[in-house]
């Protein structure tokens, strides 16, 4: 019939300009790569896919109206997931009301506790899980090697708060004392005081739970003041390509976590890496490129599994089946979340390496961190 020839349209918005443009552009690229690939094959349900992507100008309110525009005016067949967490938090209830499956990073744990049934973190960017892997690895060390005193600096926003969750939970478990535990508001004017204080208090573990800009300032201050803790953990700033590209050697040895990594052995990762290598000359795909791709994988498997574009059917299929993504197999619970994942990463020689757990590890972690040059 006619409808079957028409491409499947997938709509929504991304912050293509403004504050969050950098990340959004990678997500967009990941999504587009997925479409390219699926269109080169037989398409989705035998139909081509096309994107209708609006620019919400890094404004969560606009993200909401554009989601509605996609749903009610463009009458898209599928909704794609947005970024950042605040936008996802605002769009999730809208998707719910319109009964549209919404696969995205989510807005950390709190957003999945609101009882939405159409939202999936597939895979999610879950601050609460971010340091799980790092702590597991610490736990695997002999007690005397572990750091004892931590300095924690956290940006005061949803992602920062959710990062604190694992720190609070697991430091106590390992007997690590949070000697300094401070939040700061963005923009951070100066990181020098962070380091002066951490150094004075003899902290041997530094958490810098911030974005790129503030993360960089913290690291640079640490180098300038020659502060050498056993390990530096950097939340989400270090997972974008700019970290190694711009910071160079100074960016080495920071730990972080992830739910998705270009060196994971799951099928598909190699393909993405090859593509990114060729197109952007990067050693591996950037995290958000992977996210963009993986969310589409989840959504499309839901569609194929349900063999329908009926949103409720897609949802129900996703809730009762396993999807295979580049982040591994995902089984969603009633909240729309998969099992917690806990990989630990470390930047080594300008590459983000997987360092824990052992079964996925690509390199041994460098610990304690070598002194600044």
């Amino acid at each position: 019939s006619n409808a079957a020839d028409k491409p499947i349209s997938i709509g929504g918005s991304l912050p293509l300009t403004g504050k969050f443009a950098e990340t959004a552009k990678w997500i967009e690229k990941g999504m587009k790569f997925w479409a390219e690939e699926i269109n080169a094959k037989s398409g989705l349900l035998g139909r081509k896919v096309v994107f209708k992507i609006y620019d919400d100008q890094s404004n969560a309110g606009k993200a909401v109206t554009f989601a509605e525009k996609a749903i009610t005016v463009d009458k898209v067949d599928l909704l794609f997931g947005g970024y950042p967490g605040t936008a996802a938090r605002a769009v999730m209830p809208v998707a719910e009301k319109h009964k549209f499956v919404y696969v995205s990073m989510g807005g950390h744990m709190k957003s999945f506790q609101q009882g939405y049934t159409y939202s999936f973190g597939g895979p999610p960017l879950m601050g609460e899980w971010w340091y799980e892997g790092f702590y597991q690895w610490l736990k695997s060390l002999p007690a005397y090697q572990r750091p004892k005193r931590a300095a924690v600096y956290t940006m005061n926003n949803p992602i920062g708060t959710s990062l604190m969750d694992s720190i609070n939970r697991m430091s106590e478990d390992l007997g690590i004392e949070l000697v300094i535990n401070e939040k700061y508001n963005l923009p951070l004017p100066d990181a020098t005081p962070f380091i002066v204080k951490a150094k004075q208090m003899n902290c041997d573990l530094l958490f810098s739970n911030g974005f790129f800009a503030d993360g960089v300032m913290t690291i640079r201050a640490a180098k300038a003041l020659n502060y050498n803790p056993k390990a530096i953990v950097q939340g989400v700033g270090s997972i974008i390509p700019a970290w190694v590209k711009e910071l160079g050697e100074d960016g080495n040895y920071v730990f972080s976590g992830t739910v998705l990594h270009y060196k994971l052995a799951y099928p598909g990762n190699d393909k993405l890496n090859a593509y990114v290598k060729e197109k952007y000359n990067l050693p591996g795909y950037p995290l958000y490129f992977g996210f963009g791709y993986a969310w589409m994988q989840t959504l499309s498997q839901g569609v194929e599994g349900a063999n329908s574009l009926n949103q409720t059917k897609i949802r129900d299929w996703l809730k009762s089946n396993t999807v295979q993504t580049i982040a591994g197999p995902l089984i969603f619970d009633e909240k729309g979340l998969p099992e917690p994942v806990n990989f630990c990463t470390q930047v080594i020689d300008g590459k983000v390496e997987l360092t824990y757990p052992k079964k996925v590890r690509t390199t041994k972690p460098v610990y304690p961190k070598p002194a600044w040059k």
Binding site: D55, Q57, T65, K69, R89, P158, T161, N185
Partner: protein, 320 residues
């Protein structure tokens, strides 16, 4: 022959027709997006029109007006969550939001309105940051996490339609306030203050009092609108309702249309909101933004005193 009286009667007639048409709009089965879009337009009309009372008429450029919007949003959210109010009481429960905003405006205005020109602009800017950061830092107000509100147990188009009507009502009141101001003793006093505050005082205008009244009035409707917006969004966060860009946009909208007239901000808000939205169909987001930027330049080069003034001149009506 058209007597001025029959002319104004005809105007009233068309305005009524317009409002009735708008009122039935969301019930016609039109895609919800358009309802939401108009809702946003109303929101900005309210913000720009209210800002105009202090900024346009009195010449006190408040760059922190988003604070009142946000305060309204948070007041409502706290009220709903605290007293477990039904979201159906939107309009009723947004009134206290407006009152709280206006009260805060009085308290803040008292010291701040002693400042003039750029100094006032910046102190209000600081005020908006202080409120924003204060809310972020206080966990009882949701802190960095923001607040979730209960959403109504109704189909989405009904929900959107309800918010639409409520926002429209607030808009009508705020425009009425604008019209009243431009024709009243109150507005005349504000104009004198804008021109020369010292002279205004020597003709017995109680400038400090008048300014505070204007500031409070201009905070009231944004507060209410913030309350409704909180319901509409069901999730609020300081980054959303205290967004500095809203502050700047309000100012630009009012001035772009023509500050100091009641119609200018309405036109500015409608035009800028719709154009910005229309540009979203551009393939490449950067180009859309560049066109948007050119719009500001183009319009002001040809109409340096705003759109309204330009058309008034063209029609030969003396300004003012």
């Amino acid at each position: 022959m058209v007597t001025p009286d029959s002319k104004s009667r005809r105007l009233v007639f068309w305005v009524l027709v317009l409002f009735i048409a708008l009122a039935v709009f969301p019930w016609l089965g039109i895609p919800v997006y358009f309802v939401s879009l108009l809702f946003t337009v109303f929101l900005y009309v309210i913000l720009a029109t209210s800002w105009n009372i202090i900024g346009g008429f009195a010449g006190y450029l408040s760059f922190g007006h988003v604070a009142f919007f946000g305060i309204g949003a948070y007041t409502t959210a706290m009220m709903i969550n605290g007293f477990d109010l039904s979201p159906l009481l939107t309009i009723v429960s947004s009134i206290p939001a407006g009152v709280v905003s206006a009260l805060i405006a009085v308290i803040v205005g008292y010291p701040c309105l002693k400042l003039r020109g750029p100094y006032f602009a910046v102190i209000t800017l600081c005020f908006a940051f202080v409120v924003d950061l204060g809310v972020k830092n206080l966990d009882i107000l949701g802190g960095p996490e923001g607040l979730w509100l209960k959403s109504m147990d109704l189909p989405i188009d009904i929900i959107r339609a309800i918010f639409f009507e409520v926002m429209m009502l607030i808009m009508i009141f705020s425009i009425a306030l604008g019209i009243w101001t431009s024709n009243s003793k109150f507005g005349a006093g504000l104009r004198a203050i804008k021109e020369d505050e010292e002279v205004a005082q020597t003709i017995a205008i109680n400038a400090p009092k008048l300014k505070i009244e204007a500031f409070a009035l201009s905070a009231f409707f944004p507060g209410m609108a913030g309350g409704v917006y909180a319901y509409y969004l069901t999730y609020i966060h300081t980054d959303i309702v205290f967004d500095m860009m809203i502050s700047i946009l309000i100012v630009l909208m009012a001035l772009f249309g023509g500050g100091g007239t009641w119609l200018g901000p309405v036109i500015g808000a409608v035009v800028l909101t719709l154009i910005n939205e229309g540009l979203s169909t551009f393939v490449r987001a950067e180009f859309a933004r560049i066109v948007y930027g050119c719009l500001f330049i183009g319009v002001i080069i040809f109409m340096p005193n705003g759109i309204i003034e330009f058309f008034k001149r063209a029609k030969g009506v003396p300004p003012g």
